[in-house]
Subunit: 358 residues, 2 copies
DNA sequence: CTGAAAGCGCTAACAT
DNA sequence: ATGTTAGCGCTTTCAG
């Protein structure tokens, strides 16, 4: 920086007082210690000179930087911009500066990011990740770095978190489909190393069982990533098993998006021949044709809550740890309908006995 | 931070040398000044104690923080995650820490963000914005804060930038449609306070003129934001003008996405009755039905170049300023086709004379 | 080759 | 009510 910043000393020299007096005036909490006339003079000069406190020097002295680290696994997944927006709105309003970083779902990149952030002396950390790096979290906890998880909890009850009732979300979808009369339901799971998609998967199996629907392992498939490509690959796999199904459920709107083109190519109409569902109620849900029945998760609100939890933690480190769980809701749109009289999902295998529909 | 960090002094005490010696060893450039045995002992102890340099103290001393501010107007617009990814990959590889912030297209929020960042003593700034706050940019320039713009240039040739040949992009689209035989082309522009969408708009008018196509102002409409809602609103407006058109061009895939549902409701098939185009080749382009003919902009590469420009600037502030312009390409998919024999875009006005097609 | 000492800008005892 | 002083952790002259 070529430019010379104005310091407390500059103001002190100009007003004929000591830097400590200037410091007191510029700190609202200590302003009262100083006589009004001097305070006013100092304030005027500070204004005139365009004084900006040096946060680096302040940080060195006080060990507080006003920065909060926010780690997300994939900023291009639309749930994270929403979450981040909620986090930022709260933190900025509270006078903090959020520092956002992308881990790309890579545990070691996450480790490096968090180390960097800690080197920068962040005052707190929010990790939005389905599979945070355990050692990193433990290190933060041990070193007393205020930490909040969002999108998952952690076994250790000392770590505050905001998570969603993912199993409930899965039940909402299956209940809806079962209610429409579907009995053969295929599922595209997300990567199981993420707690959220794992819960959706087990929740789905649980719900199928509750409805007395057969859990045909041929109708479960597993995406390696939350991308359209993986959705399409899994969808192809399901169609090739030649097992009949009348509904296709996925762990994320993005996976569902990947199915649509392939289904159209296969001559399957949604929802007439096949019901299709999403998860997360992202912008994809209304953009696709047909619009998706999906599970709404209030990601913005989750971000807000996570930020509040962190501020609580910073201001009151000894208060009991809170772990929030937020419930999702079902949004019914145009991609689901009662099953066709004869399942058409496997057009190549007309001999497979159609399952009767009430 | 409850936890006590290990400092140079800790290492010095443990090895029986002075802190300045430790400092020299820990700085690769000055390591050679110290005898090998001592250096090794210090390195071993540093490793053992888990020493991490205090970047705050370093920053106070050197006036360099290793942080680079990155300001984007809207992280939920998919072009920005791509751009940011390119920026981050370069900056992180060079040992810098990018600090990302969202201005929400608000000039005063942008001002506050940049002020905050400057208070944090960032070493440089990349502003990705269609309409950066002029005063902010001038202040950075005057104060010698290295600055690069991406997504637009600035009149002042002293500010390096990466921008795209937006007019060319607009020409590519119109050339393609004109080549298919379209003569009545409607346009949904983006907000004109952004340089990029402004250039697309004027480029479109220019291209229409070049092809001798009538510039019917009834067929131009202006979105207030890059959202699906605004796309839909503008599309409705166009349909209500009762002017016939056989192609609908927009300034952004997101605007195009907003049109699709409404067109379907109106009974217009794409591309049989109406050709439709996007811009930016985002994930929307392949997700929508039909897939979109659109303009591909290499946003990731743009981010990479912007970061490199900034690093150049930091390392060599006196080198001549470079301003990059990157050319877009046309991607033809399923949303464009020759116009129908009789334009159907205005089904309510059958009396409007159909334009002949070669 | 290594140590001593100063100082980056600020805050917070401790004096007066 | 204000000034003095010390020091946060580090780098960097300047001596030796």
């Amino acid at each position: 920086m070529v430019f010379q910043r104005v310091t407390l000393k500059d103001i002190a020299d100009r007003t004929g007082v000591h830097t400590s007096t200037v410091s007191r005036v510029l700190n609202p909490d200590r302003r009262a210690m100083v006589s009004v006339e001097i305070a006013e003079r100092i304030l005027a000069v500070a204004e005139e000179l365009g004084y900006r406190p040096n946060t680096i020097a302040y940080g060195l002295k006080t060990n507080r930087t006003g920065s909060i680290g926010v780690v997300v696994p994939d900023i291009s997944n639309p749930v994270f911009p929403e979450t981040v927006q909620g986090i930022e709105d709260v933190l900025i309003a509270a006078g903090y500066t959020p520092i956002l970083a992308n881990s790309d779902h890579a545990a070691d990149r996450e480790r490096i990011i968090v180390e960097n952030m800690r080197d920068q002396h962040i005052d707190g950390l929010i990790v939005a990740s389905g599979s945070p790096h355990g050692a990193v979290l433990m290190a933060c906890k041990e070193d007393g770095v205020p930490l909040v998880l969002i999108h998952r909890t952690w076994d250790d009850p000392d770590i505050p978190s905001v998570s969603y009732e993912e199993k409930l979300g899965a039940h909402l979808i299956i209940d809806h489909l079962a209610g429409l009369g579907h009995r053969d339901i295929a599922y595209i799971a997300g990567p199981l190393d993420s707690a959220a998609t794992r819960d959706r998967y087990f929740g789905t199996r649980e719900a199928l069982e509750q409805h007395g629907l057969r859990e045909n392992s041929n109708l479960f498939t597993f995406a390696d990533a939350i991308t359209e490509e993986e959705g399409e690959r899994c969808c192809r796999e399901l169609l090739q098993t030649k097992e009949p199904f009348t509904a296709l459920v996925t762990a994320h709107d993005i996976l569902t998006a990947g199915c649509i083109g392939l289904l159209a190519e296969s001559g399957l109409r949604v929802p007439e021949d096949l019901s299709l569902t999403g998860y997360n109620n992202t912008s994809y849900a209304t953009m696709l044709t047909p619009t998706l029945t999906t599970v709404h998760i209030p990601h913005y609100d989750g971000g807000v809550e996570a930020a509040r939890l962190l501020l609580d933690r910073i201001e009151n480190p000894t208060a009991p740890v809170r772990r929030l769980r937020i419930s999702p809701t079902l949004v019914i749109r145009n991609s689901t309908a009662p099953p066709p009289p004869r399942p058409r999902a496997q057009i190549e295998s007309p001999d497979s006995a159609p399952i009767s529909v009430k």
